[in-house]
Symmetry: C2
Subunit: 700 residues, 2 copies
C-alpha cells in the first residue's frame, strides 16, 4: 500500500491549473501563496484566458505544458476538472492536488463525479490529494512550498499535520502559528478519493523532518491499515489525533458534512488507545499536547515537582495534578535542607515549593536542580514580581541550563500570562514548553504521561496460548451444513474450549441418567434449561429452572421443560443440566462493527451492565495486555478485587479470555456475535454459564 | 455583621503610609498607582524621610495628617505597622488597608503580631483589609481608585472580584484585561484579620455597579455566613468561585501557604452548590464563565442551535455539547424549509447548520433569527472565509441585531481565532460573548445552564414535615444523664421516628414472649441481634443471627447471643428481634466537619459504598430539593429506578429523610455522628435496619 510521495511533498516543479490574477480566485491564491512562500522550484500557471500571471508565463491547457512537471494543483470549475485530470494523466503526471469541490460532499451528481475521478486515479496510477481540499504545505529546511489557498503558512517545525477538514485545518494552522508550533508538512485530505491518511502515515514513518504527527479526522479511511501504521510509528514518534464525531450530535454533523459513517465513540476510543495514538478532544488540548510532545522527551515516572514564586498558582497546579492523578510527592528532608540553605524562612518547602516573590534567578536554577533529583518532571511557575533581584531573562536562562543538563526530565514553565515576552521567547528557544496557565501545564504533563504509556504498551502479544482452530472450524462447518444460524450450547462450549475459555460443567438429559451422572460429579443444586439454537429468550419463556435440589426436583424440572418445548414447538430442542456456580458475574461479548470489524466487550454483573452501562470495548486483534487494560477500565473494577471475603478475580486470566475471544472472532468470520452472559468467577476459577453464538446468514 | 463599606471602597481622601519615591518600593507603587489611575480625591503621602513625593506634600507621621481622611493604606515595615494602625485608630480613621506582610503567614512571631492587630481592629472598630495583601481597586463610572500595588488597573465593568491571594489576584486581573472583562471592584483580602469575603458579599449584595461576583478563595472565613449571603445574592446576580485546595496535594499547598485548614473537597462541592455558587476549576474556566455571565442573561431551556460557515468546527462544537449533556436538537421541517429558501443546496440543514463558506451577512442574520425560534441559545461560528460576499463587520452587525431583538436567548460567537479583530470588538460592544474555540463556547453555555439551575433551586424549604423535637431531646437527655455516649437501638429509633425517619419493626426479648409477639406481626424469618451502646462491631463479635426461621431457631439464637453477651461482659446489653427486610440497601450518615458543621451522607448498598466510594454529601441545613439532588448525584443512582422488576425507590421520600437527618443534626448538637447502614427499600416503603448514634463526650 505505501506509495512513494517524495515528489508530491517536495516537487521541483508545479503547475497551477486555474491560476488567475483575480483577487478571491482560489487558483489565484494558490499561485500567490506559492510565489510568496519562497518555493524555489518552477511554477507553471494554466489558464486559457491569460498569457501571463504574476510575472510567469501562463499556459492555455495542461496539454500545452512542458513534460515532467512533478505536481499539478487543480482549482478549476467542477464541470471541467475531470477532463483536466485525464489530461494530466495522459501527460504522465503522477502527483495531483484537486482543490475543486462539487464531489461526494454535494449530492448524487457529485458522487457520480467522484466515482469517475476514482476511475482516472486507478487508470493513471495517480498520487491524488482531494478533491474538495485546501491543498498541501511543506516547510522544512530543504523546502518551502505553500500549494494551498491557506492564509497561514506555518513556520518550519517538526510536526506533520494531516487534516480531513480544510476549514478546521486552516484554523489549526493559525492556532499553531500563534502558539509558536512549527509544521513540517500540512495536507488537507478532503474527500480522500485517492490518498488517505494511511498513505501519509506510511510516508511520515520514514520522514526524518517529522518528530510528531497530528491528525484531524472525522472518519477512518481504513482502520486496520491505520492501526498497523500507528503501531509501528509510535515506537519512534508520538501521534496525536483530534477525532471529531465523538458523540451522537457530532455523528449527525459528520454525516451531513462528509457523508462518512462515524462509529460509536467508545469503540473509537478503544481503537485509538490500542493503536498507540493519543486522543485529544479540543483545539486547546491539541495545542497543549503538541507543544509538549514536539520535543520528544518523555518522563520515566509520574512524580512532578512544582516550583513557584506565586503561592496561589502553585496550589492551582497541585489541585490540577491531583485531579488528573499526577503524583506531587512531598520532598525528602535532604532536599528540604538543601533548599532551606538558600531560600528565605517564609518559603514553603513542601511540594509545591513556594519560593515567594523574592526568588532570584539563582534560586530558580538551584531549586530546580535540587528538586528534579526527586521527580520525573517539573512545573516551574515564574511570574516576574514587582521587584525582582535579577532580570527576568536571567531566570529563563537558568531554567534552560538545568533542562539542558537533565534532558530526560521534562521541565514545563508556566508564566501566568499570555504575553509573548522575551522570557517566553528565550524559554521556547531553549526547547522548554511554556504555558500561560498552571492547569494547562498540568494537562501537558498528563499528555506526556499518556504518550509514554502508549509507547510502552506492547503492540503484539508474547503470551498467546495455543488454540485448536481445526476443532472450532469443524463445529462451525457442521452448523452451517445443517443450515442453522444458532448454535447449541455444547457447540458454543466446544468452540470456546478450543480457545481456552472454560464453560461450566453440563450434560444433556436425553436419558434421565445423563443428568444424574453430572449430579454425581457436581452435586445439587443444579440448573436445568432448554437448549435450542432458535431460542433466544429462554428465561422469559420459562425455559430455565434453577436451584434444582434433588432427584425428584430434577425429574420434575425435566418434565416441565419438555412441556415448554412441546408448547412452543421448539424442534430439535434438548434439555441441559448445569452445575450451579455462585460468585461474581461478568459479561463477555463480541460484535462486528461495520467500520472496525470484530469488537469485544467486557462488563461486570447484570446490574452494572444493564442499569449503569458500565462496559468497555476493544477492537480485534486484542493483546492480553490490552485486554487486561480493557478489564481494568470499567468503573466497577474495584469489585473484582479482594472484596468481602471473596478472593480477587484473576485479571490476567480475564485478559487471556478476552484476547482469545478476539482471536476467535478473527479466525471464525462466520460467527456474527458472541454473548457470554454471565461468566462467573467462583473461587479461583472462571467459567461461562451461558453461551450465545450466532452465525452469519451468509455463512452458508 | 454587615458593615458600612461605602467610604472604604469609594473614599474621598486617602493617606498612603509608607509612600516613597524609590522605584520598587511597595508604598511608592501604591502612590504612583493612585496618581496614575485618575483618582479624583485627595492623596496624602506619609513618610518621615520626605517633604514631598510625586508633587504631593508628604507628612512625617499619621498623627501629623489632617483629620477625617477616609482611608489609610499602610505599606511600612512590619515592626512599626502596629503602631501606625493604632495611630490611625486614635486619629479616628475607620478604613485601613494593611499591605505589610509578616503576620500569620510567616510563623509564630507573625501570628502574635496578627493577634495584636485583631485587638486594635476591635478596639478602634476598624474596617481593615489585610494584612499581607495587595490592596483594593475601584473602577466604576463614579470612581477610579487603584489603592494597590497591582501593575494592572482593570477597565471599568460589572464584575466584583474578591481574592484571598494577591499574586493570583493580579494574574487574574491581567487575564481579565486581556479578555476584555471589566471589573467594578477588586479587593485582595490577604490574611483577613479584619474584613472577610463575607463583609464584601454583604456590601456587594446592595451594590448596583456589580452584576456578577467572582471569588478566589483558599478557605472560607465563616461558611455559614458565606452561605447565607450567597443564597440571598444569587437570586439577583451570579456568583462564580475558584476555590483552590480542591485535592489532597492542593490542601498541602494551602496549608503551607496561608495556614488555613482546607476541607475535604466533596463537602466543599456540595456546600457551594447548596449556596447557589458556580464553581470553576481553572483560570480558563473563570474567564469563560465570567464572559458569559457578566451580561446576566440566562437561557430558559437547554436546547442550542449551532450555525457555522466551517463544517469541522460545527462538529467539534456539537461533540462538545453532547459530551457535557447539552441538547443539540434537529431542526423541524418548517425551519429547514425556511433555511433552504436562502442557503445553497450544499448547506447542511441539520443542527449544526453548516451554511458553508459562502454564507453572507444576511445568511447569518436570517439563519440565526430562524433557528433561535426552536432553541434557547445559539453558538454562531464565524470565520471569515477567503472570499466573503460582505465585509466581515456586516456579519457581526447582523448577529448583534438578532441578539438585541431576542434578548432572553444568549447568542455566543466563536471566531476560530484568538485575534482581536474589528469583528470581535464589534460583537463585544454589542454585548455578545465571543470565544476563540468552539469547545470554549460550549463550556460557556454549560456555565449559563449551571447558573440558571442554581438560581432556580429553592434556597429554603417549603415542604418540611413536622418533627417532635421534645421527644428527641428527652431521649438524648436521658442517655446523657446515664453517662452514655452510645444509644440503644430503641433510643435511636425513637429519635429517628421523631424526625419522620422510619425504622424496621423490632422488639426486645426480655421475656421470650416479646420476640414471639413481633413474629406474630411480621412472620419468620427474623433477625436476632445484641443491642448494646458500647458495642460497635456487632457482626464481627458474632452478635447477629439472620434468617431465624421458626420458634426453635429463635430460642436457640437468643440463647446463643446471651452467651456472647456473657463472654464479652457486655453490661446492660439487650437482645433484639427485627423483621427481615429484603430490597435495595442504602446508607445514610451524619458527621460533624470542623469547618462546615453537620454534613449528611448518602450512598447505595454496601458494595457501592465500600468498593467504589460512591457516596454524596450535603451540608446542613439541607432542603428537600437539595437532598434529592444529593441522592440523584451518586453514580449508581440508576439502580434506584424501576429495575429488574423492583419498583423505583421513592426519591422524594429519600430526600425528606436526608433533609430530616440534617435538621436532626442541627437541633441535637449532642449527637456526634449517625450511621444508618442499611436503610432498606422494600416494596414501596423505606426503613432503617441498623441505627448507630454516638453522643459527644462533652454532651454531659
Amino acid at each position: 500500500m505505501p506509495r512513494d510521495l517524495a515528489s508530491l511533498v517536495a516537487p521541483r516543479s508545479i503547475a497551477v491549473v486555474g491560476a488567475s490574477p483575480r483577487p478571491g480566485s482560489v487558483g489565484g491564491e494558490v499561485l500567490r501563496n506559492l510565489q510568496a512562500c519562497g518555493f524555489e522550484g518552477k511554477i507553471y500557471p494554466v489558464n486559457p484566458k491569460h498569457r501571463e500571471i504574476g510575472g510567469l508565463r501562463c499556459f492555455a491547457t495542461v496539454s500545452a505544458l512542458p513534460a515532467s512537471i512533478d505536481l499539478a494543483v487543480l482549482a478549476i470549475n467542477r464541470n471541467i476538472v475531470l477532463d483536466a485530470v485525464a489530461e494530466c494523466g495522459e501527460k504522465g503526471m503522477r502527483n495531483l492536488i484537486v482543490i475543486t469541490a462539487g464531489f461526494k460532499e454535494s449530492g448524487e451528481e457529485g458522487a457520480r463525479r467522484e466515482e469517475k475521478l476514482r476511475g482516472l486515479i486507478a487508470r493513471y496510477d495517480l498520487n491524488l490529494v482531494g478533491p474538495n481540499c485546501m491543498g498541501m504545505i511543506t516547510s522544512t529546511p530543504q523546502m518551502r512550498m505553500n500549494a494551498s489557498f491557506s492564509r497561514w503558512f506555518p513556520s518550519g517545525g517538526q510536526i506533520a499535520f494531516v487534516s480531513q477538514s480544510g476549514s478546521l485545518g486552516e484554523t489549526l494552522l493559525e492556532c499553531f502559528e500563534e502558539a509558536g508550533l512549527g509544521v513540517s508538512l500540512f495536507v488537507n485530505l478532503g474527500n480522500r478519493a485517492g490518498l488517505t491518511e494511511n498513505h501519509f502515515l506510511a510516508h511520515l514513518a520514514e520522514d526524518d523532518d517529522c518528530k510528531a504527527i497530528f491528525l484531524y479526522l472525522e472518519s477512518f479511511a481504513e482502520p486496520t491499515e491505520f492501526r498497523a501504521w500507528c503501531e509501528r510509528i509510535v515506537r519512534e514518534k508520538p501521534i496525536v489525533i483530534l477525532k471529531a464525531g465523538r458523540t451522537e450530535a457530532g455523528v449527525a454533523a459528520v454525516a451531513s458534512h462528509t457523508g462518512s459513517l462515524a462509529s460509536p465513540d467508545a469503540i473509537v476510543d478503544a481503537f485509538l488507545a490500542q493503536s498507540g495514538v493519543l486522543r485529544v478532544n479540543t483545539i486547546e488540548e491539541t495545542i497543549t499536547a503538541l507543544r509538549a510532545l514536539e520535543r520528544g522527551v518523555l518522563p520515566a515516572g509520574d512524580r512532578v515537582v512544582i516550583l513557584t514564586n506565586a503561592g496561589g498558582a502553585g496550589i492551582i497546579a497541585a489541585d490540577a495534578c491531583e485531579r488528573v492523578g499526577i503524583d506531587v510527592p512531598p520532598l525528602d528532608s535532604e532536599i528540604r535542607a538543601e533548599l532551606s540553605g538558600f531560600l528565605p524562612p517564609e518559603a514553603g518547602l513542601g511540594n509545591p515549593v513556594d519560593m515567594i516573590a523574592t526568588a532570584s534567578a539563582a534560586d530558580y536554577e538551584n531549586g530546580l536542580r535540587a528538586t528534579l533529583r526527586a521527580a520525573d518532571a517539573a512545573i516551574v511557575i515564574f511570574r516576574p514580581p514587582l521587584v525582582l533581584p535579577d532580570e527576568p531573562e536571567a531566570v529563563a536562562d537558568g531554567i534552560v541550563r538545568v533542562a539542558d543538563e537533565i534532558r530526560d526530565k521534562p521541565v514545563l514553565v508556566c508564566t501566568l500570562s499570555r504575553a509573548e515576552t522575551d522570557v517566553v521567547r528565550r524559554l521556547r528557544a531553549g526547547g522548554i514548553p511554556v504555558y500561560a496557565m498552571p492547569e494547562t501545564a498540568v494537562d501537558a504533563l498528563r499528555f506526556f504521561h499518556c504518550a509514554r504509556d502508549l509507547r510502552r504498551e506492547p503492540v503484539r502479544d508474547e503470551k498467546v496460548r495455543a488454540v485448536d482452530l481445526t476443532a472450532a472450524q469443524r463445529v462451525v462447518a457442521s452448523a452451517v451444513k445443517a443450515g442453522r444460524t444458532g448454535l447449541f450450547f455444547h457447540e458454543g462450549a466446544e468452540i470456546l474450549a478450543s480457545y481456552g475459555i472454560p464453560v461450566c460443567r453440563f450434560a444433556y438429559t436425553d436419558t434421565p441418567d445423563d443428568g444424574r451422572g453430572l449430579v454425581s460429579d457436581v452435586g445439587y443444586p443444579v440448573v436445568v434449561k432448554i437448549d435450542s439454537p432458535s431460542l433466544h429468550h429462554r428465561v422469559e419463556l420459562g425455559g430455565v429452572v434453577t436451584d434444582v435440589a434433588n432427584d425428584g426436583e430434577l425429574d420434575a424440572a425435566i418434565a416441565e421443560l419438555r412441556c415448554v418445548i412441546d408448547e412452543n414447538r421448539l424442534e430439535g430442542a434438548r434439555i441441559l443440566v448445569q452445575e450451579t456456580l455462585a460468585g461474581r458475574e461478568m459479561i463477555f461479548g463480541m460484535e462486528r462493527d461495520p467500520a472496525f470489524g470484530p469488537v469485544v466487550m467486557f462488563g461486570i454483573g447484570g446490574t452494572f451492565v444493564e442499569a449503569l452501562k458500565d462496559v468497555a470495548f476493544a477492537v480485534a486483534p486484542v493483546t492480553v495486555a490490552q485486554a487486561t487494560t480493557t478489564v481494568r477500565s470499567i468503573r466497577a473494577f474495584p469489585l473484582l478485587g479482594n472484596f468481602r471475603g471473596q478472593p480477587a478475580v484473576d485479571v490476567e486470566e480475564l485478559g487471556q479470555f478476552l484476547s482469545a475471544l478476539a482471536r476467535l472472532s478473527l479466525d471464525l468470520p462466520q460467527i456474527l456475535e458472541v454473548d457470554l452472559n454471565p461468566i462467573i468467577a467462583a473461587g479461583s476459577g472462571l467459567a461461562a454459564v451461558d453461551v450465545l453464538m450466532t452465525l452469519s446468514p451468509e455463512a452458508g
